[in-house]
Symmetry: C2
Subunit: 218 residues, 2 copies
Amino acid sequence: MSSLRKVSDSTVRRLSLYLRILRQIRARGETTISSEQLADEGGLTSAQVRKDLSFFGNFGVRGRGYDVVALEQAVQSILGLDRVWPAVVVGAGRLGSALTAYPDFARQGFRILALFDTDPAKHGRRFGDAEVLPLSELESFARRERVSIGIVATPAAAAQDVANQLIGAGILGILNFAPARIEVPPHVSLRQVNLAVELEGLSFAIVGAGQRANGGTR
Amino acid sequence: MSSLRKVSDSTVRRLSLYLRILRQIRARGETTISSEQLADEGGLTSAQVRKDLSFFGNFGVRGRGYDVVALEQAVQSILGLDRVWPAVVVGAGRLGSALTAYPDFARQGFRILALFDTDPAKHGRRFGDAEVLPLSELESFARRERVSIGIVATPAAAAQDVANQLIGAGILGILNFAPARIEVPPHVSLRQVNLAVELEGLSFAIVGAGQRANGGTR
DNA sequence: ACTTGTGAACTGTTTCACAGCA
DNA sequence: TGCTGTGAAACAGTTCACAAGT
Protein backbone atom coordinates (compact mmCIF):
# COMPACT_ATOMS: atom_id res chain seq x y z
CA MET A 1 0.00 0.00 0.00
CA SER A 2 0.87 3.66 0.08
CA SER A 3 4.53 3.58 0.98
CA LEU A 4 5.93 6.71 2.55
CA ARG A 5 8.84 7.24 0.22
CA LYS A 6 9.28 10.97 0.02
CA VAL A 7 7.07 12.31 -2.73
CA SER A 8 8.02 15.61 -4.28
CA ASP A 9 5.84 18.65 -4.15
CA SER A 10 5.66 18.71 -7.94
CA THR A 11 4.28 15.18 -7.95
CA VAL A 12 1.56 16.14 -5.49
CA ARG A 13 0.60 19.17 -7.56
CA ARG A 14 0.34 16.96 -10.62
CA LEU A 15 -1.91 14.54 -8.73
CA SER A 16 -4.35 17.42 -8.29
CA LEU A 17 -4.16 18.00 -12.00
CA TYR A 18 -4.78 14.34 -12.80
CA LEU A 19 -7.80 14.36 -10.55
CA ARG A 20 -9.29 17.34 -12.36
CA ILE A 21 -8.65 15.74 -15.75
CA LEU A 22 -10.07 12.38 -14.68
CA ARG A 23 -13.30 14.06 -13.65
CA GLN A 24 -13.62 15.73 -17.03
CA ILE A 25 -12.89 12.46 -18.77
CA ARG A 26 -15.47 10.67 -16.71
CA ALA A 27 -18.02 13.40 -17.45
CA ARG A 28 -17.39 12.69 -21.16
CA GLY A 29 -18.32 9.09 -20.51
CA GLU A 30 -14.93 7.48 -21.19
CA THR A 31 -14.19 4.52 -18.96
CA THR A 32 -10.50 3.92 -19.71
CA ILE A 33 -7.54 6.24 -20.22
CA SER A 34 -3.89 5.70 -21.12
CA SER A 35 -0.98 7.55 -19.55
CA GLU A 36 -0.49 9.07 -23.00
CA GLN A 37 -3.97 10.62 -23.08
CA LEU A 38 -3.73 11.79 -19.49
CA ALA A 39 -0.38 13.38 -20.32
CA ASP A 40 -1.77 15.15 -23.39
CA GLU A 41 -4.64 16.65 -21.43
CA GLY A 42 -2.28 17.92 -18.78
CA GLY A 43 0.56 19.06 -20.99
CA LEU A 44 3.02 16.50 -19.63
CA THR A 45 4.78 13.34 -20.78
CA SER A 46 3.34 9.86 -20.40
CA ALA A 47 6.43 8.70 -18.52
CA GLN A 48 5.86 11.46 -15.99
CA VAL A 49 2.29 10.35 -15.44
CA ARG A 50 3.27 6.70 -15.00
CA LYS A 51 6.12 7.57 -12.64
CA ASP A 52 3.91 9.80 -10.50
CA LEU A 53 1.22 7.15 -10.16
CA SER A 54 3.72 4.37 -9.55
CA PHE A 55 4.76 6.02 -6.27
CA PHE A 56 1.39 5.04 -4.87
CA GLY A 57 0.54 1.71 -6.43
CA ASN A 58 -0.09 -0.22 -9.62
CA PHE A 59 -3.30 1.29 -10.88
CA GLY A 60 -3.00 0.45 -14.56
CA VAL A 61 -3.40 -2.64 -16.68
CA ARG A 62 -0.65 -3.29 -19.23
CA GLY A 63 -1.88 -3.11 -22.76
CA ARG A 64 -5.10 -1.41 -21.65
CA GLY A 65 -4.51 1.67 -19.53
CA TYR A 66 -6.21 2.94 -16.38
CA ASP A 67 -9.82 2.58 -15.34
CA VAL A 68 -11.08 6.16 -15.08
CA VAL A 69 -13.37 5.73 -12.09
CA ALA A 70 -10.93 3.57 -10.11
CA LEU A 71 -8.04 5.91 -10.73
CA GLU A 72 -10.13 8.95 -9.81
CA GLN A 73 -11.05 7.24 -6.56
CA ALA A 74 -7.45 6.28 -5.87
CA VAL A 75 -6.05 9.76 -6.51
CA GLN A 76 -8.80 11.32 -4.43
CA SER A 77 -7.89 9.05 -1.55
CA ILE A 78 -4.13 9.66 -1.93
CA LEU A 79 -4.76 13.40 -1.70
CA GLY A 80 -6.91 12.90 1.39
CA LEU A 81 -10.02 14.19 -0.37
CA ASP A 82 -12.15 11.21 0.58
CA ARG A 83 -13.24 12.90 3.80
CA VAL A 84 -14.60 16.19 5.10
CA TRP A 85 -12.06 18.73 6.33
CA PRO A 86 -13.53 21.20 8.82
CA ALA A 87 -11.85 24.55 8.17
CA VAL A 88 -11.95 28.18 9.21
CA VAL A 89 -10.90 31.33 7.42
CA VAL A 90 -9.18 34.03 9.43
CA GLY A 91 -9.45 37.51 7.99
CA ALA A 92 -12.81 38.43 6.49
CA GLY A 93 -11.48 40.93 4.00
CA ARG A 94 -12.00 40.61 0.27
CA LEU A 95 -9.61 37.71 -0.09
CA GLY A 96 -10.90 35.83 2.93
CA SER A 97 -14.50 36.12 1.83
CA ALA A 98 -13.62 35.16 -1.74
CA LEU A 99 -11.86 32.06 -0.48
CA THR A 100 -14.81 31.14 1.71
CA ALA A 101 -17.09 31.16 -1.29
CA TYR A 102 -14.59 29.54 -3.67
CA PRO A 103 -16.70 26.75 -5.16
CA ASP A 104 -13.81 24.31 -5.71
CA PHE A 105 -13.08 24.21 -1.98
CA ALA A 106 -16.50 22.96 -0.96
CA ARG A 107 -16.44 20.49 -3.85
CA GLN A 108 -13.26 18.85 -2.44
CA GLY A 109 -14.64 18.38 1.04
CA PHE A 110 -13.23 21.51 2.62
CA ARG A 111 -16.06 22.76 4.80
CA ILE A 112 -15.59 26.31 6.01
CA LEU A 113 -17.39 26.58 9.32
CA ALA A 114 -16.72 30.22 10.15
CA LEU A 115 -14.65 33.31 9.43
CA PHE A 116 -12.87 35.36 12.06
CA ASP A 117 -12.02 39.03 12.04
CA THR A 118 -11.10 41.75 14.51
CA ASP A 119 -13.38 44.32 12.88
CA PRO A 120 -16.71 44.42 14.81
CA ALA A 121 -18.45 45.87 11.75
CA LYS A 122 -17.98 42.54 10.02
CA HIS A 123 -19.20 40.32 12.84
CA GLY A 124 -22.41 38.52 12.02
CA ARG A 125 -22.08 38.84 8.26
CA ARG A 126 -22.58 35.57 6.45
CA PHE A 127 -20.75 34.14 3.47
CA GLY A 128 -22.57 31.05 2.35
CA ASP A 129 -23.06 28.96 5.49
CA ALA A 130 -20.26 30.65 7.39
CA GLU A 131 -20.63 33.58 9.77
CA VAL A 132 -18.00 36.13 10.68
CA LEU A 133 -17.10 35.85 14.37
CA PRO A 134 -14.80 37.92 16.60
CA LEU A 135 -11.16 36.89 16.40
CA SER A 136 -11.18 36.43 20.18
CA GLU A 137 -13.39 33.38 19.70
CA LEU A 138 -11.06 31.70 17.23
CA GLU A 139 -9.20 29.42 19.59
CA SER A 140 -12.22 28.14 21.52
CA PHE A 141 -14.24 27.67 18.35
CA ALA A 142 -11.45 25.79 16.58
CA ARG A 143 -10.96 23.50 19.56
CA ARG A 144 -14.65 22.88 20.12
CA GLU A 145 -15.45 22.19 16.44
CA ARG A 146 -12.30 20.11 15.94
CA VAL A 147 -11.21 22.28 13.04
CA SER A 148 -8.44 20.66 10.97
CA ILE A 149 -7.44 23.43 8.59
CA GLY A 150 -6.94 27.15 9.08
CA ILE A 151 -6.84 29.46 6.09
CA VAL A 152 -5.01 32.66 6.98
CA ALA A 153 -5.96 35.73 4.96
CA THR A 154 -4.97 38.47 7.39
CA PRO A 155 -2.44 41.27 6.98
CA ALA A 156 1.17 40.11 7.27
CA ALA A 157 1.59 41.55 10.77
CA ALA A 158 -1.17 39.38 12.24
CA ALA A 159 -0.29 36.11 10.52
CA GLN A 160 2.06 34.54 13.07
CA ASP A 161 -0.20 35.42 15.98
CA VAL A 162 -3.22 33.90 14.26
CA ALA A 163 -1.18 30.82 13.36
CA ASN A 164 -0.19 30.40 17.00
CA GLN A 165 -3.82 30.48 18.08
CA LEU A 166 -4.73 27.91 15.45
CA ILE A 167 -1.86 25.68 16.52
CA GLY A 168 -2.86 26.08 20.14
CA ALA A 169 -6.34 24.90 19.22
CA GLY A 170 -4.95 21.68 17.74
CA ILE A 171 -5.19 22.48 14.04
CA LEU A 172 -3.43 20.08 11.62
CA GLY A 173 -2.61 22.35 8.70
CA ILE A 174 -2.43 25.99 7.71
CA LEU A 175 -2.83 27.56 4.29
CA ASN A 176 -1.26 30.98 4.56
CA PHE A 177 -2.13 33.76 2.11
CA ALA A 178 -0.57 36.53 4.19
CA PRO A 179 2.68 37.79 2.68
CA ALA A 180 4.70 36.75 5.72
CA ARG A 181 6.72 33.71 6.68
CA ILE A 182 5.11 31.90 9.57
CA GLU A 183 6.69 29.25 11.78
CA VAL A 184 4.85 26.09 12.77
CA PRO A 185 5.89 23.05 14.80
CA PRO A 186 6.75 19.90 12.82
CA HIS A 187 3.42 18.17 13.37
CA VAL A 188 1.55 21.02 11.67
CA SER A 189 1.56 21.14 7.88
CA LEU A 190 2.00 24.52 6.25
CA ARG A 191 1.51 25.84 2.77
CA GLN A 192 2.35 29.37 1.72
CA VAL A 193 0.57 31.08 -1.15
CA ASN A 194 1.70 34.53 -2.12
CA LEU A 195 -0.25 36.14 -4.91
CA ALA A 196 2.29 38.92 -5.36
CA VAL A 197 4.99 36.31 -6.00
CA GLU A 198 2.92 34.93 -8.86
CA LEU A 199 2.44 38.31 -10.48
CA GLU A 200 6.11 39.15 -9.99
CA GLY A 201 7.07 35.91 -11.67
CA LEU A 202 4.93 36.91 -14.60
CA SER A 203 6.49 40.33 -14.79
CA PHE A 204 9.96 38.71 -14.76
CA ALA A 205 8.95 36.41 -17.58
CA ILE A 206 7.60 39.29 -19.66
CA VAL A 207 10.74 41.36 -19.21
CA GLY A 208 12.86 38.34 -20.13
CA ALA A 209 10.72 37.58 -23.18
CA GLY A 210 11.10 41.19 -24.35
CA GLN A 211 14.88 40.98 -24.08
CA ARG A 212 14.90 37.75 -26.07
CA ALA A 213 12.72 39.28 -28.78
CA ASN A 214 15.01 42.32 -29.17
CA GLY A 215 18.11 40.16 -29.41
CA GLY A 216 19.46 40.30 -25.89
CA THR A 217 22.89 38.87 -25.01
CA ARG A 218 23.34 35.17 -25.80
CA MET B 1 24.77 42.77 -17.26
CA SER B 2 21.78 40.53 -16.87
CA SER B 3 22.73 37.53 -18.95
CA LEU B 4 19.92 35.38 -20.21
CA ARG B 5 21.08 32.05 -18.85
CA LYS B 6 17.92 30.19 -18.05
CA VAL B 7 16.90 31.02 -14.51
CA SER B 8 14.73 28.52 -12.70
CA ASP B 9 11.26 29.29 -11.52
CA SER B 10 12.30 28.60 -7.93
CA THR B 11 15.04 31.21 -8.20
CA VAL B 12 12.54 33.80 -9.44
CA ARG B 13 10.15 33.02 -6.60
CA ARG B 14 12.99 33.45 -4.13
CA LEU B 15 13.84 36.82 -5.67
CA SER B 16 10.35 37.97 -4.75
CA LEU B 17 11.02 36.77 -1.24
CA TYR B 18 14.35 38.60 -1.06
CA LEU B 19 12.66 41.78 -2.20
CA ARG B 20 10.07 41.55 0.56
CA ILE B 21 12.74 40.89 3.17
CA LEU B 22 14.95 43.71 1.93
CA ARG B 23 12.09 46.15 2.32
CA GLN B 24 11.53 45.05 5.89
CA ILE B 25 15.23 45.31 6.63
CA ARG B 26 15.36 48.77 5.13
CA ALA B 27 12.33 49.81 7.17
CA ARG B 28 14.29 48.75 10.26
CA GLY B 29 17.02 51.13 9.22
CA GLU B 30 19.76 48.58 8.50
CA THR B 31 21.96 49.57 5.60
CA THR B 32 23.93 46.37 5.01
CA ILE B 33 22.98 42.68 5.03
CA SER B 34 24.92 39.44 4.63
CA SER B 35 23.72 36.43 2.65
CA GLU B 36 23.56 34.67 6.00
CA GLN B 37 21.08 37.15 7.48
CA LEU B 38 19.02 37.25 4.31
CA ALA B 39 18.91 33.44 4.35
CA ASP B 40 17.82 33.33 7.99
CA GLU B 41 14.96 35.73 7.39
CA GLY B 42 13.76 33.69 4.44
CA GLY B 43 14.33 30.22 5.86
CA LEU B 44 17.01 29.33 3.29
CA THR B 45 20.77 28.75 3.19
CA SER B 46 23.30 31.48 2.55
CA ALA B 47 24.76 29.59 -0.42
CA GLN B 48 21.34 29.54 -1.99
CA VAL B 49 21.01 33.30 -1.63
CA ARG B 50 24.46 33.96 -3.10
CA LYS B 51 23.88 31.55 -5.99
CA ASP B 52 20.53 33.14 -6.82
CA LEU B 53 21.91 36.65 -6.83
CA SER B 54 25.04 35.65 -8.76
CA PHE B 55 22.88 34.77 -11.79
CA PHE B 56 22.26 38.46 -12.24
CA GLY B 57 25.44 40.20 -11.21
CA ASN B 58 27.93 40.86 -8.45
CA PHE B 59 25.93 42.85 -5.98
CA GLY B 60 27.88 42.15 -2.83
CA VAL B 61 31.16 43.28 -1.36
CA ARG B 62 33.46 40.56 -0.01
CA GLY B 63 33.98 40.82 3.69
CA ARG B 64 31.06 43.24 4.04
CA GLY B 65 27.83 41.94 2.51
CA TYR B 66 25.18 43.62 0.38
CA ASP B 67 24.02 47.22 0.47
CA VAL B 68 20.33 46.96 1.35
CA VAL B 69 19.06 49.82 -0.79
CA ALA B 70 21.19 48.94 -3.82
CA LEU B 71 20.21 45.29 -3.67
CA GLU B 72 16.54 46.14 -3.26
CA GLN B 73 16.77 48.34 -6.33
CA ALA B 74 18.58 45.64 -8.29
CA VAL B 75 16.11 42.89 -7.43
CA GLN B 76 13.20 45.17 -8.19
CA SER B 77 14.64 45.86 -11.59
CA ILE B 78 15.42 42.19 -12.29
CA LEU B 79 11.80 41.32 -11.56
CA GLY B 80 10.58 44.09 -13.86
CA LEU B 81 8.96 45.98 -10.99
CA ASP B 82 10.65 49.29 -11.84
CA ARG B 83 7.79 50.27 -14.15
CA VAL B 84 4.01 50.43 -14.26
CA TRP B 85 2.20 47.42 -15.67
CA PRO B 86 -1.26 48.27 -17.04
CA ALA B 87 -3.50 45.29 -16.27
CA VAL B 88 -7.11 44.16 -16.46
CA VAL B 89 -9.03 41.58 -14.49
CA VAL B 90 -11.51 39.37 -16.33
CA GLY B 91 -14.27 37.95 -14.20
CA ALA B 92 -15.74 40.27 -11.59
CA GLY B 93 -16.78 37.57 -9.16
CA ARG B 94 -15.53 37.38 -5.61
CA LEU B 95 -12.05 36.33 -6.58
CA GLY B 96 -11.71 38.87 -9.39
CA SER B 97 -12.80 41.74 -7.19
CA ALA B 98 -10.57 40.58 -4.34
CA LEU B 99 -7.59 40.50 -6.69
CA THR B 100 -8.42 43.96 -8.00
CA ALA B 101 -8.26 45.37 -4.51
CA TYR B 102 -5.26 43.28 -3.41
CA PRO B 103 -3.00 45.95 -1.96
CA ASP B 104 0.29 44.25 -2.83
CA PHE B 105 -0.52 44.40 -6.52
CA ALA B 106 -0.84 48.16 -6.68
CA ARG B 107 2.27 48.49 -4.52
CA GLN B 108 4.34 46.60 -7.11
CA GLY B 109 3.26 48.74 -10.04
CA PHE B 110 0.45 46.57 -11.31
CA ARG B 111 -2.29 49.05 -12.22
CA ILE B 112 -5.66 47.48 -12.76
CA LEU B 113 -7.50 49.68 -15.23
CA ALA B 114 -10.79 47.81 -15.46
CA LEU B 115 -12.64 44.58 -14.80
CA PHE B 116 -14.70 42.71 -17.37
CA ASP B 117 -17.72 40.48 -16.87
CA THR B 118 -20.59 39.10 -18.90
CA ASP B 119 -23.15 39.78 -16.16
CA PRO B 120 -24.91 43.12 -16.92
CA ALA B 121 -25.87 43.47 -13.25
CA LYS B 122 -22.19 44.01 -12.46
CA HIS B 123 -21.46 46.57 -15.16
CA GLY B 124 -20.65 49.98 -13.78
CA ARG B 125 -19.70 48.78 -10.32
CA ARG B 126 -16.39 50.13 -9.15
CA PHE B 127 -13.59 48.45 -7.23
CA GLY B 128 -11.07 51.10 -6.26
CA ASP B 129 -10.32 53.01 -9.45
CA ALA B 130 -11.49 50.23 -11.71
CA GLU B 131 -14.96 49.88 -13.23
CA VAL B 132 -16.65 46.70 -14.36
CA LEU B 133 -17.23 46.78 -18.12
CA PRO B 134 -19.00 44.36 -20.48
CA LEU B 135 -16.83 41.48 -21.62
CA SER B 136 -17.57 42.46 -25.21
CA GLU B 137 -15.43 45.55 -24.71
CA LEU B 138 -12.43 43.61 -23.46
CA GLU B 139 -10.48 43.36 -26.69
CA SER B 140 -10.91 46.95 -27.84
CA PHE B 141 -10.18 48.29 -24.35
CA ALA B 142 -7.05 46.19 -23.95
CA ARG B 143 -5.74 47.28 -27.33
CA ARG B 144 -6.58 50.95 -26.83
CA GLU B 145 -5.10 51.16 -23.34
CA ARG B 146 -2.07 49.07 -24.25
CA VAL B 147 -2.77 46.63 -21.44
CA SER B 148 0.22 44.37 -20.71
CA ILE B 149 -1.20 41.88 -18.24
CA GLY B 150 -4.51 40.05 -18.10
CA ILE B 151 -5.65 38.42 -14.88
CA VAL B 152 -8.17 35.70 -15.61
CA ALA B 153 -10.62 34.90 -12.81
CA THR B 154 -13.48 33.43 -14.81
CA PRO B 155 -15.04 29.97 -14.63
CA ALA B 156 -12.91 27.27 -16.25
CA ALA B 157 -15.11 27.05 -19.33
CA ALA B 158 -14.54 30.69 -20.30
CA ALA B 159 -10.79 30.85 -19.64
CA GLN B 160 -9.40 29.89 -23.05
CA ASP B 161 -11.81 32.17 -24.88
CA VAL B 162 -10.92 35.12 -22.66
CA ALA B 163 -7.22 34.33 -23.08
CA ASN B 164 -7.62 34.37 -26.85
CA GLN B 165 -9.22 37.80 -26.72
CA LEU B 166 -6.41 39.10 -24.52
CA ILE B 167 -3.81 37.64 -26.85
CA GLY B 168 -5.60 39.15 -29.84
CA ALA B 169 -5.41 42.53 -28.15
CA GLY B 170 -1.62 42.24 -27.86
CA ILE B 171 -1.28 41.39 -24.18
CA LEU B 172 2.18 40.26 -22.97
CA GLY B 173 1.32 38.03 -20.03
CA ILE B 174 -1.58 36.20 -18.43
CA LEU B 175 -2.09 35.22 -14.80
CA ASN B 176 -4.71 32.50 -14.84
CA PHE B 177 -6.73 31.67 -11.73
CA ALA B 178 -9.34 29.62 -13.58
CA PRO B 179 -8.95 25.89 -12.91
CA ALA B 180 -8.28 25.13 -16.56
CA ARG B 181 -5.19 24.78 -18.67
CA ILE B 182 -4.96 27.51 -21.26
CA GLU B 183 -2.76 27.59 -24.35
CA VAL B 184 -0.83 30.71 -25.33
CA PRO B 185 1.60 31.42 -28.16
CA PRO B 186 5.31 31.48 -27.24
CA HIS B 187 5.60 35.27 -27.08
CA VAL B 188 2.95 35.46 -24.35
CA SER B 189 4.00 34.60 -20.79
CA LEU B 190 1.63 32.53 -18.74
CA ARG B 191 1.33 31.72 -15.07
CA GLN B 192 -1.22 29.33 -13.63
CA VAL B 193 -2.46 29.64 -10.07
CA ASN B 194 -4.88 27.06 -8.82
CA LEU B 195 -6.10 27.59 -5.28
CA ALA B 196 -7.62 24.12 -5.06
CA VAL B 197 -4.22 22.61 -5.83
CA GLU B 198 -2.78 24.42 -2.83
CA LEU B 199 -5.44 23.17 -0.47
CA GLU B 200 -5.15 19.66 -1.87
CA GLY B 201 -1.41 19.76 -1.30
CA LEU B 202 -2.10 20.68 2.30
CA SER B 203 -4.59 17.87 2.71
CA PHE B 204 -2.02 15.43 1.28
CA ALA B 205 0.58 16.67 3.73
CA ILE B 206 -1.79 16.31 6.68
CA VAL B 207 -2.75 12.77 5.73
CA GLY B 208 0.93 11.88 5.30
CA ALA B 209 1.85 13.47 8.63
CA GLY B 210 -0.86 11.46 10.34
CA GLN B 211 0.50 8.21 8.90
CA ARG B 212 3.99 9.10 10.05
CA ALA B 213 2.76 9.86 13.56
CA ASN B 214 0.97 6.49 13.81
CA GLY B 215 4.03 4.62 12.61
CA GLY B 216 3.11 3.92 9.00
CA THR B 217 5.38 1.79 6.82
CA ARG B 218 8.66 3.59 6.55
C1' DA C 1 -0.09 -5.37 -30.43
C1' DC C 2 -0.48 -2.31 -26.88
C1' DT C 3 0.59 0.05 -22.68
C1' DT C 4 2.25 -0.20 -17.96
C1' DG C 5 5.95 -0.05 -14.50
C1' DT C 6 10.64 0.82 -13.68
C1' DG C 7 15.84 0.70 -13.61
C1' DA C 8 19.28 3.53 -15.86
C1' DA C 9 20.71 7.76 -17.99
C1' DC C 10 20.23 12.33 -18.04
C1' DT C 11 19.23 17.02 -16.70
C1' DG C 12 18.54 20.45 -13.33
C1' DT C 13 19.01 22.30 -8.59
C1' DT C 14 21.06 22.71 -4.13
C1' DT C 15 24.79 22.37 -1.04
C1' DC C 16 29.67 22.31 -0.08
C1' DA C 17 33.94 24.28 0.48
C1' DC C 18 37.30 27.40 -0.60
C1' DA C 19 39.93 30.90 -3.46
C1' DG C 20 39.81 35.69 -3.82
C1' DC C 21 39.10 40.16 -2.34
C1' DA C 22 37.82 44.14 0.81
C1' DT D 1 39.36 38.53 9.38
C1' DG D 2 34.87 38.23 7.13
C1' DC D 3 31.97 37.38 3.50
C1' DT D 4 31.20 36.98 -1.47
C1' DG D 5 31.23 34.40 -5.76
C1' DT D 6 31.73 30.06 -7.84
C1' DG D 7 33.52 25.57 -9.50
C1' DA D 8 32.81 20.85 -7.98
C1' DA D 9 30.11 17.38 -5.50
C1' DA D 10 25.86 15.76 -4.03
C1' DC D 11 21.18 15.34 -4.53
C1' DA D 12 16.58 15.48 -6.80
C1' DG D 13 13.52 15.25 -10.60
C1' DT D 14 12.60 13.98 -15.40
C1' DT D 15 13.02 11.36 -19.49
C1' DC D 16 14.43 7.25 -21.88
C1' DA D 17 13.84 2.78 -23.30
C1' DC D 18 12.51 -1.70 -22.67
C1' DA D 19 11.09 -6.01 -20.12
C1' DA D 20 6.88 -7.77 -18.63
C1' DG D 21 2.00 -8.48 -18.57
C1' DT D 22 -2.54 -8.74 -20.94
